[in-house]
């Protein structure tokens, strides 16, 4: 389902070139829950950005469902991200000027999915996340946990085959962290969506079917 080959990512800084990911091969089968763990600066977020089509690799390939995503044109890659990949970021990633229901509906609208009742689906997903009474609320009117759950709903609006979560609970309290992880795992199990979770929290990775430990830009184990 997900296949990375010889992935490398380097950044040019004022002090010279920094190698964030130094050649990673990775395979994740469809429907699995994989956790990428590592310390801060180990390169796990850079790896996830390349896997998600957010950051062009310096070298190597990423194949998702048979598509070499970095071989696509810019617009086709955008369409691929929109339709096949869902993201949950480590920060409050909702647009502050839109209501929760607008935020959740936005990816479907960007993808021009005219065949779907976008707002109906957005409302259903928010209800599933326990936010059925927050449809018209703005992000600033919601708690951090509610915002994260709305971000999960948004990630699911286009029925992605791959859900990427980059430290989705890093700024949340323990109880909310558990609730968010429960939601992500439920999506993985009930919808069969492949889940790749990036975290430095080992306890969150315990339930993963596949754990990839990154250190110094390479797979340590």
């Amino acid at each position: 389902m997900l296949s990375c080959r010889a992935l490398r990512k380097s950044y040019v800084t004022e002090r010279g070139e920094v190698l964030a990911v130094a050649g990673i091969d990775l395979e994740v089968e469809a429907g699995r829950y994989a956790a990428i763990i590592g310390r801060s600066g180990s390169g796990k977020s850079s790896l996830m950005a390349m896997v998600g089509g957010l950051s062009r690799p310096s070298d190597g390939t990423v194949v998702i469902d048979g598509t070499d995503i970095w071989g696509l044109s810019d617009d086709r890659l955008a369409a691929f991200r929109n339709g096949r990949i869902g993201f949950v970021f480590q920060f409050a990633s909702l647009l502050p000027t839109l209501r929760l229901v607008d935020n959740v509906a936005l990816p479907a609208m960007l993808g021009k999915r005219g065949d779907v009742d976008v707002y109906g689906k957005a409302a259903t997903l928010l209800a599933r996340m326990g936010l059925g009474d927050h449809l018209d609320a703005y992000p600033s009117e919601c708690s951090a946990g509610e915002q994260r759950r709305a971000a999960i709903a948004r990630a699911l609006i286009n029925d992605p085959v791959l859900l990427l979560a980059d430290e989705p609970t890093s700024d949340l309290d323990e109880q909310t962290e558990i609730e968010i992880m429960d939601e992500l795992l439920a999506v993985n199990r009930e919808l069969g969506t492949t889940l790749v979770l990036v975290t430095h929290n080992l306890s969150l990775a315990e339930q993963a079917e596949q754990i990839v430990h990154i250190a110094g830009g390479v797979i340590a184990s």
Binding site: G52, A79, N82, T97
Partner: protein, 408 residues
């Protein structure tokens, strides 16, 4: 989707109210200046075209020995028996002269104009070349001047369109001149060369001598004198020297040089105002560009997020361009409203004063004013689009991850 992007743009503007208001105010000022400036300059240009022609000629060329009234503010050829060839100035090809209008003047008595013993000046001019008589028309028939038509000076009575017998021949009162304060103009009866020449035999019979001899000036190819405008940049001294060096037997009478100076000075002033308007417009465009560059930098995480959830580059650009167009478009509309208010103020003060002292001010017609308003709004939007396009285009090319992380 478009509505959502529009709503997103509107709400983004609302997020930073003070900044948005300042931006809108700056664009409103810029577009207001452009709109008001364009309308006023066009109006002033039109008014100048009439006003300056009303100032009359810069100089007069008459036969040597002819009497001239040098105290009048408006140059006017006086009746005389002396004549010049009608093509004498054209043949000399003088670069220091602009437009030239020839006139034939005959003073007649017992013509049927006015009371029995009144003398009257019949003044012939060429309608196509004239720039000293027709600008003074305050009322006229709604058709071009034709043979048999006469225009009455302000001191003459006559109803527009009515018949006026001159030496028993019927003529139609085509128009009436405004008050000029110059005797010849005030008392004159103006007509085309052809109309005046057609009266030749009758005038000969009515002249003081009673010999039936037609006045020399009524012969084809002869004129009483010329009224001339200076060519742009030429001085009265240069023109006088050029005329006297090239044409024999003439006298040159210069008008008030102040008027020529005003004519040339005002034209230069309008050019200067236009340059200032262009500079102000450019500075507004630069300021908007810098501001939007900062806005795009501030919002790159949001743009990165849009890219991450699948927005194409064109959509990312669209969000920013919509926002910029909204802000600057609102600014443009407010600028036009501001401009209309300023012009209303202008109309009630300076224009009112000018018209009271007899200086005409002709506003640009409504369709052109609307075109200027639309142009100013479109220009304001164009400033916004131009200002945001480059920073937004650069942002849209960057990796979504870099934008989301706010990396430099």
């Amino acid at each position: 989707m478009r509505w959502l992007l529009l709503s997103l743009a509107l709400q983004n503007l609302g997020r930073r109210k003070a900044r948005s208001l300042l931006l809108i105010a700056a664009v409103a000022l810029g577009s207001g200046v452009v709109f008001t400036g364009a309308v006023l300059m066009q109006s002033i240009d039109r008014s100048m075209a009439v006003g300056f022609t009303r100032l009359g000629a810069d100089m007069m060329v008459v036969p040597e020995g002819a009497l001239t009234n040098i105290t009048a503010s408006l140059l006017a050829v006086e009746p005389s028996e002396l004549v010049l060839d009608a093509d004498v100035l054209a043949k000399a090809r003088l670069a220091s002269l602009g437009r030239i209008a020839a006139q034939k003047i005959v003073r007649v008595e017992h013509s049927g104009i006015g009371s029995h013993h009144d003398s009257a000046d019949l003044i012939g001019f060429e309608p196509a070349r004239d720039f000293t008589v027709q600008p003074w028309l305050v009322e006229k028939l709604n058709r071009p001047l034709q043979q048999g038509d006469v225009i009455l000076g302000a001191a003459r009575d006559g109803v527009l369109g009515s018949q006026l017998l001159i030496f028993g021949k019927p003529h139609v009162v085509y128009g009436r001149l405004g008050r000029t304060g110059v005797g010849t103009h005030e008392r004159g009866v103006f007509m085309s060369f052809a109309t005046l020449e057609a009266l030749g035999e009758a005038i000969g019979g009515g002249m003081g001598g009673g010999h039936g001899a037609k006045p020399a000036v009524l012969a084809p190819g002869k004129v009483s004198g010329f009224l001339a405008e200076l060519a742009p940049g030429a001085t009265p001294l240069q023109a006088r020297f050029a005329i006297l060096s090239n044409v024999k037997g003439v006298k040159v009478v210069a008008g008030d040089t102040t008027l020529s100076g005003i004519r040339q000075g005002l034209a230069a002033l309008l050019d200067g105002i236009l340059a200032l308007m262009v500079l102000m417009f450019i500075s507004t465009a630069l300021m908007v560009s810098v501001l939007f560059s900062a806005i795009v930098t501030e919002r790159r995480a949001e743009l990165g997020l849009l890219k991450a959830i699948g927005a194409r580059r064109a959509q990312v650009l669209g969000v920013m361009v919509t926002e910029a167009m909204l802000a600057t478009g609102i600014g443009g509309i407010l600028g036009v409203v501001l401009g209309v208010l300023v012009m209303r103020l202008f109309e009630r003060s300076l224009v009112y004063y000018l018209e009271n002292v007899g200086v005409p001010f002709l506003w640009v017609d409504l369709p052109r004013t609307i075109a200027f308003a639309v142009g100013a709004i479109v220009l304001a939007c164009a400033i916004g689009v131009a200002g945001v396009l480059y920073p937004a285009w650069r942002a849209s090319r960057r990796d979504a991850y870099d934008l989301v992380r706010g990396g430099a």
